[in-house]
Symmetry: D2
Subunit: 321 residues, 4 copies
């Protein structure tokens, strides 16, 4: 394989840049040429290819976002779009493609694989909702951002008797909320995988108030049954002792430079993806299994999304006393 391409797709995640860098530099070391495709499948369809050398990926290790940008594309979801994408790759003499992104991005990769094109996926999603890997790129950075926010909220608990509600990302997967709550010392966690009724939220807060806590924190995943504004309104209507204050982190969680763990995971996965292509292993995603990287069929990982391990839910209870 002499010429490969790389793209980043879906929601951006800290660590996409180190992954691109590792792909480019290791591919060059293996004697390949690398092309970057801007704006994911949109760029693929538009033929927006750019040669990447060691120089283009210099100084990007610590940058948030992705130098290749991402975008949504509806056309590529159709068979015609997919065939047109394949044609573009062939026009440019590309022999293999590396797709860095989440669930949806990998489904695009799968389509190309089914058309017979060698594709390798790299899981990047701050939600940690991708099957087939113990960890996705971006999760560790997002968690550190969330903990920074939670640590600050606890700092300011010197103004008494406040309940802080904080919304974090996670439409289907409560990983960030769950682990963030445990590591940030929160009293309450609301995640898509397990419903908590509003009355229980109120009861827990009141309990914390009566036990003498001078503040309490609830971490709420955006995909949990009850949304943060709903929770706030309910609590204001039911006196729990604490005044309620809201924080919505939003896209802040996607920003910031990648953490050490994310850089390491991204670097290892980037190199491994190139090696899979070199060895003619296609249709797979690079998965982290324990400490080892393994090839996982994309078909398997795109069947559904991953949920958080609910054992953490009980652990949170023990630790928040």
């Amino acid at each position: 394989m002499k010429r490969i391409a790389v793209m980043t797709s879906g929601g951006d995640a800290p660590g996409m840049n180190p992954a691109i860098r590792a792909v480019v530099r290791s591919a060059i070391a293996y004697g390949m040429e690398v092309y970057g495709i801007r704006q994911a499948y949109s760029g693929l369809l538009a033929g927006d290819f750019e040669r990447l050398t060691n120089r283009e990926v210099s100084g990007i290790l610590q940058r948030g976002g992705t130098i290749l940008q991402t975008a949504r594309n509806d056309e590529f979801r159709t068979p015609q779009g997919q065939r047109r994408g394949l044609r573009r790759l062939n026009e440019h003499g590309i022999e293999g493609l590396i797709v860095i992104g989440g669930d949806g991005s990998l489904r695009g990769a799968l389509a190309l694989h089914k058309l017979g094109f060698p594709v390798v996926g790299i899981p990047a999603s701050i939600d940690n909702d991708i099957l087939g890997t113990d960890m996705s790129i971006g999760v560790d950075s997002a968690l550190n951002t969330i903990l920074e926010a939670l640590d600050r909220l606890r700092d300011t608990a010197s103004s008494h008797e406040r309940a802080f509600l904080i919304e974090v990302m996670g439409r289907n997967c409560g990983y960030l909320a769950m682990i963030g709550a445990i590591l940030g010392g929160a009293e309450i966690t609301m995640i898509p995988e397990r419903d908590m009724e509003l009355s229980e939220v109120a009861a827990r807060l009141e309990d914390a108030y009566l036990r003498g806590k001078n503040h309490a924190i609830a971490v709420i995943a955006e995909g949990s049954k009850h949304k943060i504004n709903e929770v706030a309104e309910y609590l204001e209507g039911h006196n729990v002792g604490f005044e309620v204050r809201i924080t919505i982190l939003g896209h802040i969680q996607r920003g910031g430079g990648p953490s050490a763990s994310d850089r390491l995971l991204a670097t290892r996965m980037g190199v491994k993806a190139v090696e899979y292509l070199r060895d003619n292993v296609g249709g797979v995603m690079v998965g982290l299994n324990g400490q080892t990287l393994v090839p996982v069929p994309i078909e398997e990982v795109t069947e559904r999304t991953r949920s958080v391990d609910l054992a953490y839910y009980d652990l949170a209870d023990i630790l928040s006393r």
Copy 2:
């Protein structure tokens, strides 16, 4: 003066701890005893006084919040409450009081001053809404927190075509929003001091979109005429090109360790407040005038709150092109 007391009151602000430390250590160097009053005027009324030595203020320089905590108190707003507070001070042999806090806290200090008790105020409020000083303790730290958030939002702009709305603190004073917008490179600023109609917000965003910007940021003070949810709803109903995403920073802005500037301001003001008491200068707040600390009558600074200099508003316009 041989025995003084110190309290922190109102919303907590990063830098309150270095101010306490400077008060304690300089007072001791001047041969005074220092007592800390927990939970502001509530603690005063409850007689919650604690001797502070060099050891109690060791290791607090970098801590967020305040080791003396703050609280609201309605009783102290009444003349009876104020007389009872005075009595408590006299019972403990306190000859002077230093109040670290915002507008409301200083009004409490003024009441004691009018009853003849020597009081010195230190302005602490992340909103920078206190008259009589060029800068209050906590503003610089809060601004740095806001910039960190804005920098992260811009990082993640690699996912195209999003408008980020971010709500920052400031009920009466748009300082944080205004300066944050300038230093964080935002396109739109909404502050209490100047109304911006929703139609103008939409027009500006559409303009940015048409000029080819791939994202835009609007910083919205919590006290601005239109609230963030209202803005978001309006924009979703009027297609401006960008998808809208919301961040509400909330109390995160009060947390975190104090910045270098806040530590320096707090340290200087703490020492100066002690010197005023030593020199029998009461009824004043320590104000920053240029680089110099000056005594400002508390009566003057509590008349109204300070507004942001609107010259910055035009500057923001020039710089966000």
Copy 3:
């Protein structure tokens, strides 16, 4: 088992506090009493035990250092000292001990185990030099600190033509230097596990200079054959194009709050250590094997220290082009 004790020993590492918190809160949840031993084996010999409840470990999650402090102790290395330590444990009715620390600390734990006392070790060492676990507590935080330093050095490369030498911790194990160099984009890595001659350092820098790089970074483990001052002197005597500048990070690497990964690892290991004691599994260290925690005989892990995987060395070469 109804009453256990916990100590932190050896060089402190970010994450020791969350480990203590997890031990205390999970032990209480399992119906045990927990005592903290201050200053490690010195405190053990001095009988410096303190009851720890949920309250004592409240608010310590994000704190650097260890609330139980650490210390060196020569007496405990002798058989008499060890017997005296055992006696102290029995005097206080302690039935099991958890030791959080590095290589040397675990050897102390082994001595107690051989005397028949139930001991469980938790590996904490920023050097990542402990056998039997894929990761020790503190490594991830230290790496993030090192990367922050390296990112700053690269920021300032706008003043041209400088070679930055930076010394990081690692007396026997080059893990921090090796991984830090890869993730921080350094050109040269000097570690205890592989000697690099001064002439090669100079040759590599000159090569980078001639290839047009406007700066270069060398990461040097403190335990590498040639020390940083020696390297600097050599380079100044042999014109390599770049001016040489030195940074020695020192104990900064041990400080700072624990990262998300360290908090998670520490929390999981703390809970697991309590479960081992509860299940009468002693003489073991909690080891991370892939993503799973497993008991590893302390005897095995204290035989020698762990080295960095030299496969990373070649990876560094590829990636620094």
Copy 4:
């Protein structure tokens, strides 16, 4: 004035990028064209001019270093070099020049001014050693970096009985060391402006040890009489109770994104410099006087460097108890 140029010169400082951005965007708003000169006076002599539009300065607010780079140049110190520089400016139709940099850079600007060319200086130097301004760009960011390091060192003081020596920048001016020591809670400060004998260092450390402190910190400016290695050797030869550990921050202090204060100062100064040129005010540096920006003749500010106010020295003593 229709066409101006801007350069950054000397040691780089966080905040240079926001200054460039403010120059470019305000000049364009005033109807001028702006050219950037790469690598300072070297680029001037080489004719390395580049048109800067709003787009070129987009996204640089939070970046460390300077997009225009800096460099040293010996030729420009000669009258011939200066005349050649003037000729280059005229060749490109440049009518005014803004120089962002330190002491040496301003001397270059003065030479052009004396040849009749309109020049305005902006003080940027992390050392805060420039006369005629209360604050230079970069100082606040460097201080925050130093405090982060000092906070970490104090975190790790849980391993007992260590004296940490930390070297910070400042060849002629002890500002960073002095203020860093006060705000970071250090016990000892060694600066160029006031010699401290090694015997006094030892005596102070021993005193701290005997008073029961479990660690002590000494901040040493690189330009202080005794260098850090000398201090360390002396202390190791004279038992002061503490073990000695060294940190040399080095160029880390120049890196990192600019703080809020530096961004604000840089932005205000950039705009003001353009206004001076527009109003035909040349030969001046923009100086901060209190909170106000004022023009200061470059001739006056280049006579000598600024020293730290020694009143802080005594304050440090009081506060470190």
